[in-house]
Structure formats: structure tokens, C-alpha cells
Symmetry: C2
Subunit: 268 residues, 2 copies
DNA sequence: CGACATTTTGAGAAGGGTCAACGAAAGTGG
DNA sequence: CCACTTTCGTTGACCCTTCTCAAAATGTCG
């Protein structure tokens, strides 16, 4: 998986792109965007839903869809040309990697979320496909041109960035103050919530089942733990009956409320 | 680039407060803002410097200055009316506090930085004065009205929020992956850099001295450690000659480059 | 089936937490 | 001015959670 990442963007660039054929058209049509974006799974939840028709049209003219296989790099710190994207399906992981090999996953971007770092050439982070992805991509130039022309887009981005910041700060509490047991429970709860309730419904289901986008190593990199510790804590959660023992990446949550409880109480 | 970087904090502190008396005046004058904000120590580095004159005028009409003694709460999760502010001098700490008593400091806001959470009633965080403060305050209503009227302000806020997010993610790496020794070195390095180089000049001085805005307990809450551990690691840094042994909150950095080295190497 | 990657499990070590005592500085009140 | 208290920081001893290293088990894919 790491080996694929070494291929860099070349592989990624050659993905078949089902929308390229439409990029020739020009201005004056709300209908084009409607057609291009009509089937979009995240349409009502993404950035695009918050801006004016005119801006949405500009966006509709600029994007192209891409499929990205799990493990592939979307952007890295030493990349020349910027890229922006909205996640249509799958999960993107943002990793802070150091020369000495240590790494920390500092963000997971789920469907409808935005990926990319405006206003800065150096992102310092590595963005990789945690699972197979569908992305709605924009070249740096195109996106920034739209941003300059439609400041409202900055407002929409601001809302999302503030949410990301809230999430990051919540995660900081986990990294600084929670026990290993709480951390693992927190992560599974968070992923379960996000994967099974893409819109933020009030009450999550009491039981659910999903495929984790993360390996044990990746879970450990999220949680500031070693993979052995993650494995042991998962065994504990299974022993408690909070998780059913399903194999590998399939998680079978038997009680979301219990899981939530374990994600917040330090005592055994 | 940023010439005001040469100002120390002492300079910030000693600015005369020429603005309190002027909040009655009304519209139509670019000169009013110029007068009200003229002596502002962070003027060229804060939000206000990035927006149009017209927007800056609106801001100039809406703010009021406030002095806040160390320890005072600026806003908390259960607060009814929102507040926004730009830090003029001093440091604001943002803390994630839990019912069980555990807490994690998730942000430090230095002069010229923005404090407040637009677009959300519930901030979930506690904002407190870590040191004595001078703030340039806005009521929630006033600020949001200006934001609605001048979308460019959202753009300026977006840039700052993205920077905060980068900082938060850098901090997440520290919390997840650094040793106690690296953490303490990182914190001191960061505070030294920010306090003694308000603008981001390239190379920090090799030695410096400053008053920490944080107690040992607060340092521990920043770092995800216990205060005893912080104390021991400080003793170690003193033994290595990176810090001179000065009392309590006065830090005397003998070698910023060494400090930086210790903040990134896990060994010893 | 065989080669390889991923996950689980085990045993021992250690980093940091916990508890406790002590010291230094600052405020209080006589 | 000096006891007294209070707050804050330091230091020590011990212990527990998590890390480290190692090996076995399980899963995956040709």
C-alpha cells in the first residue's frame, strides 16, 4: 500500500475521467450545472449547496470527477500544483509525517467534505485515499479564480473550516487526555456515526455495521497509540460485548450507547 | 516584511488607550477609524488590515476596547450572548473542559489573533485570559452584521481560521507522537517565538527571555501531561543548559536552536 | 498451496502518572 | 515587622498503562 503511494500522481492522473467531455461548454446556463451535478450524491450537503446559482454554475464548469484507489496520494507537501476537491464517496486521510518516521493522522474527510489548503503553497500534510474514492476535483488555479470572483465561496469554506477546527480541537482532547480504551471507542464511534449517518441525524442507531476505512496501523496513527494497543483494546471491547467479533475491517457495533459511554469514561 | 515585528510585547502593553471615548460618532468618515485605530499595536497584523477601507470603517465604529485581568473568563460554553475580539496584548487560552475534571488547552491566541466562534451558538470551549489582556471587542450581533454586509471579512477570517487549523494539526502531532521532553521543549519554543517575534520573522534570536503566560498546570494542560512531568522536564532542560534556571514564570532561553532540536528528537 | 501482509497475543521494559512531602513566594492580619 | 496561611513549584518513591520486541495466527492473492 505504501508502495503504491510512491507512484505519486502519475497513476492518479491517468484515471478515466467521465466528465472531461463536457468541459468545453461556456457560460450562460444554469442547466448545465444542473445536469452535471444532478446525480451528485453529496450535492445537498457539500459546499455547492451553500452558494448562489451563479457561483454554483462556475463551480459546475470547473470540476472534473475522479476515481482514486485506496492508498493513493492526493497531495503531498512537496507537490507543485495545488488541487482542491469535494469528497463524493470514500474517506481521505490527512497525515502529518516526520522525517524520523513518526506520523499522526490529523484529519479524516468524509463524503461532502472539502479537501485542500487555500492560500498556502505548502500544505505540510499528506492527503491519501484511505479507501477507494470518488472526488469532485478542481485545479488550484480554477478554484482560486472562482474564489476571487465569488467571495461568498469563502464564506461557505469558512463555515466548513470552522467545523474542521472544532473537530481538530475535540481530537486534541482525545490525544491529550483520554486513555487507550477511550480512544479506540471514540474512533469507532466517530467513524460509525459518520459512515452510517452522513447527514447529522439526531440519534444514531443503537446497532450498526460498517467497513472501516482504516487499518490497525492507521487507527493507531489516528489515536496516538501503537497498533498492538489498538488491537488489545478492540479485543476488550469485544469481550465487553460492545463490538461483535467480526473479522478485520468489518465492525459490528452491538451498542452505540455503550460505545459512547466507553469513549468518555476513563475507568474500567 | 513586517516591520512591526521588531516591537516587543512591552510596547503593546504601553499603548495609550485613546479609543474608549469615541464610540458615539456615526457614519461617513474614513478619518474616524483612522483616529480610533491609529495607536492600535496590532493594526497592521490583524484582520482589519486585510479588508477594504469601508469595511474597516464599519469595524472601527463597532468595536470597544476592554481590559481583562488574567484568569477571567471571556466566554464559556453556557454563555448566552456571543462575543468576538481581536487580541491587542496578552494571551487568551482556549480550553476543552469535561465534567470529570479533565481538561486540555486546545489553543493559545496571541496579539493580533481573533477570538470567537462565528456561525455557532455553542462553542464548547472555555476562553480565558491567560495573562492580563487588552481586547478589541465586538458584540456578536454587531460583528455578524458586518460580516453579512462585507463578505470580504469572511475571506480574512478564513485565512486566519486555516492558519489556526494548521496550528491545531501541528499540535495534534505533538500530543499524539512526541515524548514528554519534546513536548515541553516544543511549548517553550513556540511561546518564545510568538512572544518575541510577533510578526513571523525568519530567524528567531538565539537567546531570549520572557514571562510565560502559563502556569505549570496550564503548561501540562497544553501538553497532555501532568504538572510534575512538566516540572521534571524543565529541570532536565536546565541541566542541559538550554534554559537558564530562572524562577517560576520567567524563562531564559540560552539556545533557541538547541531548544528546537530537543523539541523534535525523541531520544535522550 | 505458498508467499506476503495484516492482526493477534505474549512477556518484559519504561515512560509518565500518582501520591506525598517539602520548599519558595506572596498575601493577611496582628 | 513577623507568624500564619495559601498558592505554586519541585522532588522523591512507587506503580500502572502503554510501548517494545518477538512470535504466532489469520487473512489475502497469485
Amino acid at each position: 500500500m505504501k508502495l503504491e503511494a510512491a507512484f505519486g500522481l502519475s497513476r492518479y492522473m491517468s484515471q478515466p475521467d467521465c466528465n472531461d467531455s463536457m468541459s468545453g461548454s461556456r457560460r450562460g446556463e444554469g442547466s448545465l450545472t444542473r445536469i452535471k451535478c444532478q446525480g451528485c450524491a453529496v450535492r445537498t450537503a457539500s459546499l455547492c449547496s451553500e452558494v448562489s446559482d451563479e457561483c454554483a454554475n462556475a463551480i459546475g464548469r470547473a470540476f472534473h470527477r475522479r476515481r482514486v484507489p485506496a492508498g493513493q496520494v492526493i497531495y503531498s507537501s512537496d507537490q507543485k500544483n495545488k488541487i482542491f476537491a469535494v469528497v463524493i464517496s470514500g474517506v481521505v486521510k490527512l497525515t502529518n509525517v516526520r522525517p524520523d518516521g513518526r506520523q499522526q493522522i490529523v484529519g479524516l474527510q468524509f463524503p461532502a467534505e472539502f479537501v485542500g489548503r487555500p492560500y498556502s503553497g505548502t500544505s505540510n500534510l499528506l492527503a491519501e485515499a484511505a479507501s477507494n474514492l470518488e472526488l469532485c476535483c478542481f485545479s488550484g488555479d480554477a478554484f482560486e479564480a472562482i474564489m476571487r470572483r465569488y467571495p461568498e465561496l469563502e464564506g461557505a469554506l469558512l463555515k466548513r473550516t470552522l467545523d474542521s477546527l472544532d473537530n481538530a480541537r475535540e481530537w486534541m482532547f482525545m490525544l491529550g487526555r483520554k486513555t487507550a480504551h477511550e480512544r479506540v471507542a471514540s474512533l469507532i464511534y466517530m467513524i460509525a456515526e459518520r459512515l452510517t449517518h452522513p447527514g447529522n441525524r439526531k440519534e444514531p442507531m443503537e446497532t450498526c455495521r460498517f467497513e472501516s476505512p482504516l487499518s490497525r496501523t492507521e487507527m493507531a496513527d489516528c489515536l496516538g497509540l501503537r497498533l498492538e494497543t489498538v488491537s488489545r483494546q478492540l479485543a476488550l471491547l469485544k469481550a465487553k460485548g460492545v463490538l461483535a467479533s467480526s473479522r478485520n475491517r468489518t465492525f459490528d457495533v452491538r451498542s452505540m450507547s455503550e460505545l459512547r459511554r466507553w469513549s468518555e469514561s476513563p475507568v474500567e
